[in-house]
């Protein structure tokens, strides 16, 4: 039980740190008047992650207070299946990014992607795929 509570507190600390970071990033982008599509995506995706984490932490904390475990075989199975599918989808997503960079960047006024944007896009895609699969498997027969 203590271990479960510690895990929830640790997740809450990480979420607050992430929220502070994106708030600072948002403030800097707005104060420098550098708001564009890229910076908006870089702000919105972590914000969605924080919202999801808040929902997740609240549920887990309520369950722990009621004497239920932090995770059980079903939640572990959903996490594993979502992670496996997200990894698989991300391989195609990374391929799509490299093909885009190779063949389409520079055309039609589309800018080339630097290494940071490519890696960031890959990680953000993986995170979104994981959340999407988590919701899917949470409703589906597993």
């Amino acid at each position: 039980m203590k271990k479960d509570t510690f895990r929830v507190i640790l997740m809450a600390i990480i979420s607050v740190a992430l929220l502070a970071t994106i708030s600072l990033y948002g403030y800097m982008v707005i104060s420098k008047r550098e708001v564009d599509l890229g910076s908006s995506i870089a702000f919105i995706i972590p914000l969605l992650i924080v919202v999801f984490m808040a929902f997740f932490i609240t549920r887990r904390y309520r369950d722990i207070k009621q004497g239920m475990p932090f995770e059980d075989e079903r939640s572990k199975r959903i996490m594993t299946q979502a992670a496996a599918k997200a990894f698989y989808v991300t391989l195609y997503w990374l391929l799509a990014i490299s093909w885009f960079e190779e063949f389409f960047a520079g055309m039609f006024g589309v800018e080339h992607l630097d290494a940071g944007k490519t890696v960031g896009g890959g990680i953000a895609g993986m995170a979104l795929a994981w959340f999407a699969f988590w919701f899917y498997y949470n409703k589906k027969l597993v």
Partner: protein, 78 residues
């Protein structure tokens, strides 16, 4: 003994279909939370089990059957 006849139908699962968890839970006046706590799982797992939307492991099936005082065969309708 014909082994093939004793085997479950292809695609059959422990709980993808019907089970008597809700009925037996009501009989013993247990809430979903009570059963979840006694079986050591989360409440959602019991909800999905009752709806037939979760295939439990043999261990969980055994634990729930033990809590409800029945055999696994009597709990899950194969």
């Amino acid at each position: 003994m014909n082994i093939k006849e004793d085997m479950p139908a292809k695609g059959g699962s422990a709980s993808g279909g019907k089970n008597r968890i809700k009925e037996l839970r009501a009989k013993y006046n247990l809430t979903q939370e009570d059963l979840a706590r006694k079986a050591g799982v989360r409440r959602e797992t019991i909800v999905f089990l009752e709806k037939g939307k979760y295939n439990p492991s043999l261990k969980l099936a055994h634990d729930i059957a033990r809590v409800l005082g029945v055999k696994i065969d009597d709990l899950f309708i194969f």
